[in-house]
Structure formats: structure tokens, C-alpha cells
Symmetry: C2
Subunit: 175 residues, 2 copies
């Protein structure tokens, strides 16, 4: 079970970046995302619509108190992995992390409180240079699953893409 915790969402400024985090979490084999920061029902709805159309399972929820989420999941036996460019290289730690089957992967917004670094069991960098929490999440999940997440079949999808060298082929499932 892999859940993603998105910290510090700001309603207007972060709408698209947070949506991308949710889409990436679903597409690359996480089981759900917990949003924190400002409550933003539009994002929850838009992610739920993607799950309805393109399949799941994938849970989307909101929790105001991110610190409590981190502590709760730790108590439940999850390993908390915070993605940050200051952390230890993913390529050195991923083998160890693959042996854990319950992860809470924390991705931050602009300013991440000090406590996140302290509560996390691992602070992990996908490249020790500035880039994007969306990309860091993507590569972390891809490395964790060793690429197998790209073959994943989603359940209860209404639509499915038929891969194509040149066109756009979408099949309605059940047709």
C-alpha cells in the first residue's frame, strides 16, 4: 500500500501542480492521495472524475492536519518517505525502501516545515538539484515499482487507450 501526502496546498496558486501530483500518484501505482493545506473540493472532484472514467482503485481525501496524518500512519506501521532535494539519493536507498510494503510518500509545496524532515523516516532526493515535486514523485514511484507500474491495468475503467504510433485510439470498455 502506497499513499501520497501532498502538503501545503494553496487553492489558487497550486491547483494545477496539486492536480498533477494526484494524477501521477494514480498513474504510477500509488493507492491514494491525501491532500493537505487549503481545502479544495474542485481538485478532489477532478481527481475522482479521472478515477471514474479511467479506473482505479485510487482514493482521494483531505486532511487539514498533516502532522497528525504523518504520526497516525507511522503508528500504523507505514514508513514515511519525504521527497526533498536535500535528502539522500533515491538510487542509494530505493533497494531498502522496496522491502517496505507500506509507504506514506510526502511531497511538499514551496516551504516545508522543519518537522516534516524530523518525523519522516527517510528524506529522499531524486537528484540533489531543484526541480519538481511532480517529477520527484513520478521517478520515486517508478523506481519503487521497477517500472512494472507502467503495465498496470486499472479496474472499473470506462475508457481505455489502445497504444498507437500515430493516432488517438480510445476504447469504451464494454463496447
Amino acid at each position: 500500500m502506497i499513499l501520497v501526502l501532498r502538503l501545503g496546498h494553496r487553492k489558487n496558486r497550486d491547483a494545477r501542480v496539486t492536480t498533477h501530483c494526484g494524477l501521477v500518484a494514480r498513474a504510477l501505482g500509488a493507492d491514494g492521495i491525501i491532500l493537505s493545506g487549503e481545502r479544495d473540493d474542485k481538485i478532489i472532484e477532478s481527481l475522482e472524475k479521472v478515477v471514474e472514467k479511467w479506473g482505479g482503485p485510487f482514493s482521494v481525501s483531505y486532511r487539514r492536519d498533516w502532522k497528525r496524518v504523518m504520526k497516525e500512519y507511522k503508528q500504523k506501521g507505514y514508513t514515511i518517505v519525504h521527497l526533498t532535494m536535500y535528502g539522500e539519493p533515491v538510487q542509494e536507498k530505493i533497494g531498502e525502501l522496496r522491502r517496505k510494503d507500506r509507504l506514506l510518500v510526502v511531497v511538499g509545496a514551496e516551504k516545508v516545515p522543519r518537522e516534516v524532515y524530523d518525523i519522516a523516516d527517510y528524506n529522499i532526493a531524486v537528484g540533489n538539484t531543484p526541480h519538481s515535486e511532480i517529477a520527484a514523485l513520478a521517478i520515486f514511484l517508478h523506481e519503487y515499482h521497477e517500472g512494472r507500474e507502467l503495465e498496470k491495468k486499472f479496474s472499473n475503467a470506462k475508457l481505455e487507450i489502445e497504444p498507437s504510433p500515430r493516432g488517438k485510439t480510445v476504447r469504451k470498455i464494454g463496447d
Copy 2:
């Protein structure tokens, strides 16, 4: 040489997503990004500042006419790879693409014109399900470089991170 072409930038709506594309291109081993769509000097400046601080080489430029860019690079011998969820699975094509040493990787915005699919030599999907052009670009580059891009040392950096399990350690280079 790997260059990224970002299509269809809209000045207000896409500012952060396009910036993330640029940061990811640099962080994961592309040599530069060409921005298209609406001209947006702020983004160019902010990416150039990152290169100044954290090192390069990494080029940032703007070209209004994306079609011309695609055709020009094709003529120069570049292989044009368009990332789209409708395309052929990256895991099936990456071996073939690794043998090309000059790539133009095209990432779209909301609505990608039909011609992009036609001019591209490859239409490649990083998962045939909706997610994020930022994540698709990241995983494509990561797969192309087989993870070695995460070890890359940047030149002429003023700052460098010392990876750390818990803190933030930034070193000024030359100190």
C-alpha cells in the same frame, strides 16, 4: 544532445507547469529547452537564474513557430519524440531510442495539434492513462539515461547540496 520543446505555453495559466518542465529537463539530463506558445520572459529568466546558481550547461530559448522548430531539428538529424498518453509504451521503445544520440522531446499543453503527431518520428506514452507532461518528461529522460542522470555533476554551479538524511546542507562552491 537532448533538447525539449514545450508547446502551447499560456502565460498565466501554465507558468508553473512550464517552469517545472524546464527544471525537470535540466535536472534529468536534457541540454536545453525551447519554449513555444505565448512568449513569457519571466519563465526564461527564472530558469536562467537556476542555471546560474545551480549550474549547467542548459540552454533556454523561445521560438514562436513550433512547427518550424520540429522540421528544422528533423533536418539536422534529430529524432523527434512526442510524449502523449495515446502513444506507444516507453518501455517497448526506449531501447531503440537510446541508440539515437540527438533527440528533440516534445511535450504538449492542453490541446496538441494533430500535426505534432504526424511530424514526430515517435509518439511515446509513459503510461497510457492521464497524468502529467512533467512526470512523463521526467520518466522518459530517466529511462533514456538509465538512471545515470541522477549522478550528473553540473558545471559552473555556485551552490551544491550535500545529501543529508535529515537536514538541509547547501555548500557555496569555492568556499
